[in-house]
Amino acid sequence: MTVLEISDLYVRFGEILAVRGISLTIERGQTHCLVGESGCGKSVTALATMGLLARGGVRTATRLQFQGADIAALDETAMSRLRGDKMAMIFQEPMTSLNPAYTVGSQMAEVLRRHRRLSRRAALGRAAELLARVGITAPGLRLGQFPHQLSGGLRQRVMIAMALLCDPELLIADEPTTALDVTVQAQILRLLQELQRELGLALLLITHDLGIVARMAHRVSVMYAGEIVESGPVADVFLRPTHPYTRGLLDCIPVPGKVAPGAPLGSIPGVVPRIRAGFAGCGFRDRCAQAVTDCAMGTPLQQASADHAYLCRLPREWTRDVA
């Protein structure tokens, strides 16, 4: 069952186009990873889906469906009824994602009282249940604590528990482990994976870490300058990266044993350009080794295989020649 379907999503902030016509679908029980450099439009895509764009952000899409219902046309009240209920989101910074003025318990209970009209006692019971579910020992104690009394890993677990309070269908996780250290990161990812399997969540995972993608994703979409430049099943994309940008990203990962000490690490020269209205052609052409003058004209969407698409003029065979 398709939980989220986005076609041709555009987001603009004044002159700047942050997202340029991306399309993606997420099925129930599936993890879809959105990967790319900072500033490529990953987070904006997530916020646009939730209807939480910052001031001045304008969203247009030919289709924005959640569980088969159009959410593009919903007003703020109807959207806020969905948010935190059927679609939930986790943010990057567990340190600042909880309100320092309230205890964990009252913040969690608040969500349930809003969406489920539970009594305070019942809400706290359900909150404790979920804290236990995300692996927090002594949930009763944690409910009475303030965020500053918890470690980063604990706070992120609280955030996850909070997102799951109302049994969401879709969970959007915006770099949920970036701010955590590696061991905690692994625990949180394992937790997300377990929860997804058990609850049949559709998970939209935003990250810049290809290691996380390899480990978590069923499908991956590589974003660059507001566009999805390559998208497909994760094994396919990683084994046969067809877009020059995806190849570049994968080449940037240092592999112990393969990278000689002292040799420079891989990098893609340049930075993500800001795309203004009226921009034409491939957004990556200034940084691309394969760029030709035609790249300024436009880029075709091609199929590397039945389920694996990429946005480039190069034929799908080129990648094997280089590799």
């Binding site: 939480l52 806020s80 948010r83 943010f91 994602s97 909880l98 309100n99 309230y102 969500v111 997102a163």
Partner: protein
């Protein structure tokens, strides 16, 4: 550090003590503050030659017991201070939070209002209003309340701007919180500490302004024992009976000093707590 803490507590003790005096004024005052006794005009206070324990601080030019008037005057000062801060805080914080949170034209409007307010000469407007409407306790409170909100607005606006970009605001919205809920429950509690400090400073300012207005004859009307009014009424006698302006003057000085010490100490304490 320790000395600073001591000074803060001293400030708190002064404010608390004067508040208690104000609350229990009828029990504490030895005489009726309004009762005149023309046979006992400008009786010298206890510590001067010829002073009696009956009138510890002497009497004024109409023979009213000065200590009793001072005690009842504390009520007026505290009440003016608190009510003004409540009124101006309500206006200033509302405007500041709205401007800081919504930005855009709302913020422009709030900034314009703040600029306009800053362009208004305080005393002059207060004088005009009181002269037009007549002086009464309520008029003074509302005039000061409507004039002293700009610092609340400025502080509320900037702190709201800082808070609104934090993730927990977005997280609350992502959890389905309404705009009202976000403003009331997420933003407000987190900007409250600097606002409390502003409130103490504004309170001191309001008390001084009330004294100034009363001194000019446009504040609390006689025969109410406002400290500013006591100084005004006593100024003709200051050469022969200097205590009639010294006593309320020192009382005013101590109260304002206490509030400021407390406010400064509060700011340092909360600032330190935040840095940790």
């Amino acid at each position: 550090m320790k000395a600073r803490r001591l000074v803060t507590w001293l400030g708190a003790a002064i404010v608390g003590g004067i508040a208690l005096i104000a609350i229990f004024a009828p029990l504490l005052a030895p005489h009726d503050p309004f009762a005149q006794n023309l046979n006992a005009r400008t009786v010298v206070p206890y510590w001067m030659d010829g002073g009696t324990t009956d009138h510890l601080f002497g009497t004024d030019q109409l023979g009213r017991d000065y200590l009793s008037r001072l005690i009842f005057g504390a009520r007026i000062s505290m009440l003016i201070g608190i009510m003004t801060v409540l009124t101006s805080g309500l206006i200033g914080i509302t405007l500041g939070v709205l401007g800081g949170f919504f930005g855009g034209w709302v913020d422009d409007a709030v900034m314009f209002a703040i600029t306009c307010r800053l362009a208004i000469p305080l005393i002059l407007v207060a004088l005009t209003v009181v002269a037009l409407v007549g002086s009464s306790f309520t008029v003074v409170i509302f005039t000061l309340g409507l004039l002293l909100w700009e610092r609340f607005a400025v502080v509320a606006r900037t702190t709201t701007m800082q808070v609104r970009t934090l993730d927990y605001i977005a997280a609350a919205q992502a959890a389905g919180a309404s705009r009202w809920h976000v403003l009331w429950r997420e933003v407000l509690p987190n900007i409250l500490t600097p606002l409390i400090v502003v409130a103490t400073l504004e309170m001191a300012l309001a008390i001084l302004l009330e004294a100034a207005l009363s001194f000019l004859g446009l504040g609390v009307p006689p025969p109410f024992p406002s400290w500013g009014l006591m100084i005004a009424e006593g100024k003709d006698y200051m050469f022969f009976s200097p205590w009639v302006i010294m006593v309320p003057g020192i009382a005013l000085f101590i109260l304002v000093l206490g509030i400021n010490l407390f406010g400064d100490g509060l700011r340092d304490m909360l600032g330190v707590a935040r840095a940790q």
